[in-house]
Amino acid sequence: MFDALSARLDATLDRVRSRGRLDAKSLEETLRDIRLALLEADVNVTVVRGFLDRLRTELIDTTTTGPLTGAQTVIKAVDQELTRVLGGTSQALTLPRGRLSVVMLAGLQGAGKTTVAGKLAQHLKQQGRTPMLVACDLQRPAAVEQLKVNAERVGAYVYAPATSGDPIPVAADSVAKAQATGCDVLIVDTAGRLSVDEVMLEQAKGIKDALTSDGIDVTTLFVIDAMIGQEAVNVARAFADTVGFDGVILSKLDGDARGGAALSVREVTGAPIMFASLGESLDAFEVFHPDRMASRILGMGDMLSLIEKAEATYTEDETKRAEEALLSGEFTFDDFLEQMQMLKRMGSLKGIVGMLPGVGKQLKDADLDERQLARVEAIIRSMTPTERRDPKNVLNGRRRKRIAAGSGTTVTDVNRLVNQFVEMQRMLKAAAKSSKGGGGKKHATPRSTKAQAAALRQLQQQAGGGGFGGFTGLQPPKKSR
């Protein structure tokens, strides 16, 4: 997600990096590049204009006074501005407990409302709520059926008394139904509409009114396709003006869309982006974090999300082992294999790679085929313990041939893996050495997450600058300015 935008900005910022200090001329050039990057990412033209104006003011102010070099200044300013446009801090959907809440989903045709309804039900269930899905899309053939199937998959109640006709009575009755069954959240799926279709917009409003009339708060969430173009702003305005909405759900973010729509919608309507929907399985649904997304767009990676994922995946023991393997400088194929298993547990390879600082760029166009993991795994598993520990010295031609045969690969494959691995071992050794000398341990265990976050942010910036090259510089930064 947002890959292309980050790639564009990356290229621009790389140029700034190589330039060193910013002068008036290079500032204008940089701004022009950023403008193109944003426009190519489908950010609305007027939003881009505002974005650049603020960025320009900010940069002119800081370049004359600040001690930062050009690249850092620009990255910082763009990061801030992106975070701001995306909505600052993340805003959660808060539904009061102890009484019935209603969430209505609205959006264009094909935005993904019915799928999101199922995902939201799952999300709320995990928070201990009892959701009921209400089928108010009586327009599209089999939409009701689809909602029923989704409800069944997540184990939620569903209220679908009709498959055609007027959805407003369905909405009105659903409240009593929910109270009778003991559900505390209603998720109302509505028919998709074309943006300027007034009849349909009125209908959505009617559904909302029918629900509100019982004195119940209705939270309306606007579902928008991440692949939408310049039209996003018109659509969002039309919905905001007629139906009104309190939050946005960005759907199909698992695609390679540049996601400029996200920026535009937030900027134009002021409604926060609350969730990101990332795939067809019903648990591919996340709370949206603007600040992290900004970092990701800038190619600075999203270490915080990665760490959260890692924390959820690794046990303490495994963490310790990984740490030891690293600091000892003796990173063996066994350690590597173990990390690969971890990697698999953490989800899709592509998703993880996207979160790493400075890596997304290189890997953006690559089709990361998970089957390749299996291939590598097969090669390693065909090695003896000794070979795994010290591949450089132990592996002769005959052994390699045996490994290739055992893993169903070719000797070339084996050679390639081993050579790369030995190279990495060497780099790791160097890194471990310098980190020991550089006092990594002295900084150890600052317990607050804030300190962690700050430290990691610095790390991100360093690594973001160097990509793979800056790899050995990953030990804790010593200069803090």
């Binding site: 890692a310 690293l326 990390q339 790899f471």
Partner: protein, 362 residues
């Protein structure tokens, strides 16, 4: 889950991950480079029953008329094009013009090129009249688009159309409309529900089959879409149908496995029917620059023969197809306007461009 990981441990994990990934990546890159040269898609070679007899899928002229009306319904996008030129034409005006093209999703690259072309023509022909310049601009955009051939049909055996696209583009609805128009013409139609993935997708197509009297071919949810495609052609042959239309599950183009699956569906059909008569890519008119990526990936996977631009409702103008055609040369064949069965028309570039520039006519 540990209470809290120490800072150094977190860095360690990340580093190790990074290392692992770099190794994997390099190995993989090398492998791909080696393999890439050997695999060649042999499926596109035209084989058996030859395509003949392009029948016009006649669509009422009035649909394009309605399109014209719809497209000019909102008069905001390019409003002020006249105003823009009134104060003389300089850098700022051309930049505005570029933004106006971008604002209908024509895209940065295409817009820049079109405006640059306009600029050089303006200088060459010494144009200063805003009206003439507007006409010139329209013509330049119009020149990017071709007037499509009607959807290809064949005489010997059932015609086969495969329909693909990203999630929510409007594939099933488009097929429903196609079926309605074909059956109205008296053709016998078979619909293949090869979207076995999305909940109730088969039911949705089934409703359309019922409405139009087309025959529906299905299998259970989760079945192999290739098998459904196979059954569809079999059924079409047995029942002497004129057209078989195969619906596929929506898929995002960066999902490799799903694109491979689509390729398989196509190969299954080709094995039975020879070269497919049409492979249609459905694109939503609100789509932004991602449309190019979609067109490229789907063409790589199944060799798209034409685009169906859906949900063209006046506000969404679908300028992305200009960029797609310019960059990839894939023609737009049909446009979908709304939800009505008759709301599907043969693409008319002139009407389309008028729609893009609707406001400037005022």
């Amino acid at each position: 889950m540990p209470a809290e990981l120490s800072w150094i441990a977190l860095v360690a994990i990340t580093l190790v991950l990074l290392v692992s990934l770099v190794v994997l990546w390099k190995v993989y890159q090398a492998t791909v480079g080696r393999r890439g040269s050997t695999t060649k898609d042999a499926s596109d070679s035209p084989t058996s029953p030859d395509v003949t007899h392009p029948t016009v899928t006649d669509m009422p002229v009035s649909v394009n008329e309605r399109l014209r009306q719809k497209l000019s319904a909102t008069r905001q996008t390019l409003a002020g094009l006249g105003d823009l030129f009134h104060s003389g034409i300089g850098d700022a005006e051309y930049e505005r013009l570029e933004e106006l093209l971008i604002s209908v999703d024509i895209g940065v690259t295409a817009s820049t090129e079109i405006v640059a072309q306009l600029r050089s023509e303006a200088i060459r022909d010494n144009i200063s009249d805003p009206e003439v310049l507007t006409q010139r601009l329209k013509r330049l955009v119009r020149e990017q688009l071709v007037t499509p051939e009607p959807l290809t049909r064949r005489d010997n055996g059932p015609t086969v159309w495969l329909v693909a696209g990203v999630n929510g583009a409007g594939k099933t609805t488009t097929i429903g409309k196609l079926a309605a128009q074909l059956t109205a013409e008296g053709a016998k139609v078979v619909l293949g529900a090869a979207d076995t993935f999305r909940a109730a997708a088969t039911e949705q197509l089934g409703v359309w089959a019922q409405r139009t009297g087309a025959e529906l071919v299905t299998r259970e949810a989760g079945a192999d879409p290739g098998a459904v495609a196979y059954d569809t052609y079999e059924t079409a042959t047995l029942s002497n149908a004129d057209v078989a239309i195969v619906d596929t599950a929506g898929r995002l183009q960066n999902h490799r496995a799903l694109m491979d699956e689509l390729g398989k569906v196509k190969r299954v059909l080709e094995k039975q029917a020879g070269r497919l008569d049409e492979v249609l890519l459905v694109i939503d008119a609100t789509t932004g620059q991602n449309g190019i990526a979609q067109a490229r990936a789907f063409t790589d996977a199944v060799n798209v023969t034409g685009i169906v631009l859906t949900k063209l409702d006046g506000s969404a103008k679908g300028g992305i197809v200009v960029a797609v055609q310019k960059e990839l040369g894939i023609p737009v064949k049909l446009v979908g306007l709304g939800e009505d069965i008759t709301d599907l028309a043969v693409f008319d570039p002139a009407v389309f461009v008028d729609g893009l520039f609707a406001a400037s006519d005022v």
